[in-house]
Amino acid sequence: MKTRAVLSVLGQDRVGIVAAVSTALAENGVNIEDIRQTILSGIFSMTMLVTVDEDAHAFEEVQSALAEVAERIGMQITLQREDVFRFMHRV
């Protein structure tokens, strides 16, 4: 089952954030559909739309891999199913 999800990364800008996050995604078979990224007064903010292949890697497994990355690079990383945003922000 392919599940669309939104990945948000927030924290102090530093070298290697995109590399670390996308490596973890690739290792877990997660495909990146779209990326938006900005830096506002030194705060790095990245939003990705991704597809999780739940047949290969469970949603929870991807989340815990990202939690490890978050811990290692000192950023806040959240992976949520996309429907929650569609439900809350679209009539």
Binding site: V6, S8, L10, E33, D34, R36, T38, S45, T47, L49, F59, E60, Q63, T78, L79, Q80, R81, E82, D83, V84, F85, R86, F87, M88, H89, R90, V91
Partner: protein, 455 residues
């Protein structure tokens, strides 16, 4: 392609991480009609099996939804059919063991509260109702997770004043039996007018007889989110603009509830019941309905204008929420418990909020006289008078009202009681010294109002 803007994603994250957006409760309603038996012991055995098998997956499923959607589900709970209704088919003895079975079942499946130790006596007290009411003090004193509720009035039937008098004594007895824990038993006991069949919130949740066998009901939360939205508005924004902003926010909160309700029902393989559009505060700082009223414009909750602000809030929440789900149900209105809301506690301590003002506020919001500690020596007749006033507001205005009063044994006005967790802590409030004894002694039933003749 991202269909959702990064700003909208950030808004949701801030709501959850900073403004306490969460689903207050996912409550599984379970019919226990099949548990009727000749003895309370046999009924208890059947009830334990029924509840533990129906709710076996409730907690793990909710935890998965929570993780995948990133929206915390604060409580997972169970409501069962009113126990007196089921007991009335066969056994009508001491029902305390049934409460014990409910408690054990709740512990086994990992929920913090189970509601439905209940009776509906608005028109008359049946044999099983009588047995249940008699069992309440012991049942609440000997269990951790069981919640009891009794419906004593309805718009169609009027107010059963005899039942109210009886419930006042029951409240006092429960307080006495749990005196060593600040009379916590009373925090798990609600007296209702116009009780609803699909309320997911404790302590008043029951699974009504008009419901399917097992249903998922969801109670939303989010006072912190609404407060942040109102607080961010310019000082000179008029009340129409305030109502509009609350409406838009309520829509978003409700959608989160709708999504969780659909997913939980789908994954559990049961029917989706309702989404209850209630703003439910918690003792956490910032997660307060009183704070919203103060952000709208009263210096302290309880000041003149508070009822107006609450009426506006309550109405705007419903309007936004009604767009967000087609399954509105439960109590659907802002809750104004005292001990569970840090802003309400502050207002009481400052002398701004009194019992009488809370009664007025009851007329324009959900339930009402909720989690209010009163002096332990308050006469039963006075408690009955307070309960009947709440009922009168509900019956005449065709809405649900309730009283959850806690006579704090050995304490007087100004002292403090503390139950911890979601139940919070509160100052003991002053109660009128004038007696209601003659009114209560008259007993009987206050007839249904003219407004109930609607056919």
């Amino acid at each position: 392609m991202l269909h959702i803007s990064p700003e909208e994603i950030a808004e949701t994250l801030v709501m959850v991480q900073q403004q306490h957006l969460d689903i207050r409760t996912v409550t599984l309603g379970v019919s226990i009609g099949e548990c009727a038996a000749d003895t309370a012991a046999e009924m208890s055995r059947r009830l334990y099996d029924r509840v533990t098998s129906a709710a076996e997956r409730l907690v793990p499923v909710c935890e998965t939804i929570e993780r995948e959607y990133g929206i915390p589900i604060r409580n997972k709970r169970i409501s069962v059919s009113p126990v007196a209704e089921v007991a009335g088919r066969r056994a009508c003895e001491d029902l305390t063991p049934v409460a014990g079975a409910m408690d054990r079942a709740a512990a086994t499946v990992g929920v913090d509260f189970i509601g439905g130790f209940s009776a509906l006596v608005h028109k008359g007290v049946g044999r099983a109702d009588d047995a249940l009411i008699r069992s309440i003090p012991q049942a609440l004193a000997s269990t951790q997770r069981v919640c009891a509720s009794v419906n004593v009035a309805s718009t169609r039937a009027g107010i059963n004043m005899d039942a109210i008098a009886r419930m006042a004594h029951t409240v006092k007895e429960t307080a006495a039996l749990t005196a060593d824990a600040d009379s916590i038993g009373c925090a798990k006991l609600v007296v209702f007018a116009n009780m609803v069949e699909d309320n997911p919130f404790m302590a008043g949740a029951v699974h009504g007889s008009g419901e399917a066998d097992v249903v998922v009901n969801v109670g939303i939360s989010g006072p912190g989110v609404v407060r942040a939205v109102v607080a961010a508005m310019p000082e000179d924004a008029d009340l129409t603009a305030v109502a509009e902003a609350i409406k838009a926010t309520s829509f978003k909160i409700t959608r989160a509830g709708e999504l969780v309700a659909r997913e939980a029902a789908r994954r559990l393989g049961v029917s989706m019941g309702i989404v209850d559009l209630s703003l439910a505060p918690t003792p956490a700082e910032g997660d307060s309905v009183a704070d919203i009223l103060e952000a709208i414009g009263v210096e302290r909750c309880g000041a003149p204008g508070t009822t107006t602000a609450l009426a506006l809030l309550n109405d705007a929440v419903k309007k936004g929420g009604a767009m967000g789900t087609s399954s509105v149900g439960g109590l659907s209105g802002a809750f104004i418990p005292v001990s569970e809301d840090a802003g309400m506690v502050r207002a009481v301590e400052a002398g701004a909020l009194t019992l009488e003002k809370l009664e007025a506020m009851t007329a324009v919001c959900s339930v009402g006289l909720d989690m209010i500690a009163v002096p332990g020596d308050t006469p039963a007749e006075t408690l009955a008078g307070i309960i009947s006033d709440a009922c009168a507001i509900g019956v005449i205005n065709n809405k649900t009202t309730a009283a959850r009063l806690i006579p704090a044994m050995g304490k007087k006005a100004g002292d403090r009681v503390s139950w911890g967790g979601l139940l919070g802590a509160a100052p003991v409030m002053d109660v009128s010294k004038w007696s209601s004894a003659k009114l209560i002694a008259r007993g009987g039933r206050m007839p249904a109002p003219l407004g109930s003749l609607r056919n």
